[in-house]
Structure formats: C-alpha cells, structure tokens
C-alpha cells in the first residue's frame, strides 16, 4: 500500500525496518476518490496528511475569474500535504485529477514520528524541501520558459518522478490528465497546449495521447525543456 512511498524515500536514504513499521502504523484509513474531487480544502483545519497510493493529485489556487493555476502535481508515493502538519490550514487546495486512492495519516501520528524517529523526521523534512524545489522549477517555467519548453519540462519532470516509484515503462507512462489540466499546470490555455503538443510531436520529441505520454527523444526533449533533474535530488543522502 505504501510501497511507492518507500521506493521514493529509499531512492534517497535508508529506511530502517522500525521506521518502515512506524510509517505503516501511522496510516489510519485508506480512502478512494473520484477524478476532480477536492481532497484538502484551503483554509480548513487539517488533522491528517494525505499520502497518495495511486492516481494523480494537484495543489492549486483559483482566481475569482475562474482561472486556475496548478502549482504542483503529486504522483503515487508522495505526501500531498505533509506541510499541513505544521501549517494546519493550507493556503491552497489539493484535488484529484484522476481517480485516486490515498492513505490518511493523522497529524498526531506524525507528531509521534517526530518524537520517536528523528532520522525519519529529517527524511520527511527533506521531502518537503523537494516540494519547494519543484515549486521553484515551476516558477522558472511560468515566468521565463516558452510554451514549448514549459510543456516539455513538465513531461520530463513527471517521467523522472514516476521512474523513482516504478511507474514508467522506460520512456512511456500513464498520465491521464486532460489538455485543460496540463494547461493549468503550465499557465496556458487548452487550445495553446494542443498546438504546443503538435509541435512537440512533429519535432519527434514526445506524444501525449489517450492518457499516456510516450517520449521518443529524451535528450531532445530535455534540451528543449532545459531540464536538469538536479532539483529533484536523486542522489543518495545520509540524513
């Protein structure tokens, strides 16, 4: 159930059997969600954090005119809102983009982990730092990258993140988002994303069709995106 989460953590550091058991014991409930369902409401007091088992979640904010900006995607193995443990009320919401299952981890259990498992606590601190790094990378995309480069960077990032949790077939992966979802990630319109996907396809770089991304030229795609996976901190650490 939390196997993807363990893969994500163990890609960076060791997780002892005791720590693993503590994580397993912290799950109070597993909940299933439909697509487009709000999982964490902005402004409400959070009493648990959400650990994604399968499906795709997003952090987002809405503007009054109906415009939505997705600020990060979450893949299986991610805590979507570990930061709600310290923030209590989030400034953004979290919703599903696909049907999803998530483990709910009560904040009191997280508190026990911080008291009993200092190394695991540092590892969790590290994962929230990765979220911050992803936000910075998206900020660069939204502020400075071309449309082509933004969409390319998104496909590169998700490929690497899904690799870590064993959810790619080499150069392809399930990504059951709509063009509108992608547009809300990269700050464009669905129509603009459609045109951008055509350009990426015609350049032989990547195809996004039927809820699946197939990368035909990884180096070319990474070049267009100026993608450097350093911000995802893939090297083993000793926290």
């Amino acid at each position: 159930m939390i196997e993807r989460h363990l893969l994500k953590l163990r890609a960076r550091d060791t997780v002892s059997p005791e720590e693993e058991q503590a994580i397993r014991d912290s799950v109070a409930e597993v909940r299933s969600f439909r697509a487009d369902e709000i999982v964490v409401h902005a402004g409400r007091v959070a009493t648990y954090s959400v650990l994604l088992i399968d499906g795709i979640l997003c952090r987002y904010k809405d503007l009054s005119d109906g415009e939505r900006q997705i600020t990060e995607l979450h893949v299986p193995g991610d805590f979507a809102d570990l930061h709600s443990f310290t923030l209590k009320r989030l400034d953004h919401s979290v919703m599903t983009l696909t049907p999803a299952r998530a483990a709910l981890v009560p904040h009191e259990k997280l508190e026990q982990i911080t008291e009993r498992f200092p190394h695991l606590t540092r590892l969790y601190w590290f994962t929230t730092n990765i979220d911050a790094a992803i936000h910075r990378e998206w900020e660069v995309s939204l502020g400075r990258r071309s449309a082509l480069s933004r969409v390319a960077a998104l496909f590169c990032e998700i490929k690497v993140r899904l690799d870590i949790v064993g959810l790619t077939d080499g150069m392809s992966y399930d990504f059951n988002l709509t063009q509108t979802d992608v547009a809300e990630c990269v700050g464009l319109t669905s129509i603009h994303v459609n045109r951008t996907l055509k350009q990426l396809r015609e350049q032989g770089l990547v195809q996004f069709k039927g809820g699946r991304v197939t990368i035909h030229d990884w180096n070319g795609l990474a070049r267009v995106a100026e993608f450097d996976p350093a911000y995802l901190y893939l090297e083993p650490l000793h926290l």
């Binding site: 071309s146 449309a147 319109t189 669905s190 129509i191 603009h192 459609n194 055509k198």
Partner: protein, 84 residues
C-alpha cells in the same frame, strides 16, 4: 454541457483537437476560443512575430463545424495611431 472541439488552422498548420472540452454552450466555447487565440498570440508576441491570419473551428462531438473564430476577432490592434 456539451463537448466542443477546437481545431486550430493557421500558419503553423492544422491542429486537430481530438479531446475537446466540456462547456455549457456555444457562447462559452467561443469565449474559450478567443482566450486560446490570445494565449497563442501572446507567445508569438514574445518572439516578435504575430500572425493573425488563422482561425479556430469549433466543432461538436460529431465533427460538425459550429463556428469559425478568426484570430482577428480575439485582439484589437492599434498601430500608427497617436492619440496621446
């Protein structure tokens, strides 16, 4: 709600929209097309060349073209005017 498909036809070629979007009515679809053109044109403006000769064909789920929205309808251009 109905599904509308937005095919882009301009100097960059034709982009079929196989996926489409669920929208309340054709008026909302036209608004989405206008917003889409503005998004495309803003990228062109960054690169210094704006092509307003294209159009967006809005089609229903059966492929019938319901409305054609010229890129020209999405923006108002002012040039060689000095009103200040």
């Amino acid at each position: 709600m109905a599904r509308y498909h937005f095919h882009i036809i301009n100097g960059g070629g034709t982009s079929e929209d196989a996926e489409g979007q669920e929208l309340p009515d054709l008026e909302a679809a036209r608004a989405a097309a206008i917003e889409g053109v503005r998004s495309l044109v803003s990228e062109e403006a960054r690169l210094g060349q704006i092509d307003l000769s294209g159009r967006i064909d809005i089609a229903d789920a059966d492929g019938n073209i319901l409305l054609s929205v010229p890129f020209n309808d999405a923006v108002e251009l002012r040039r060689n005017e000095q009103s200040w």
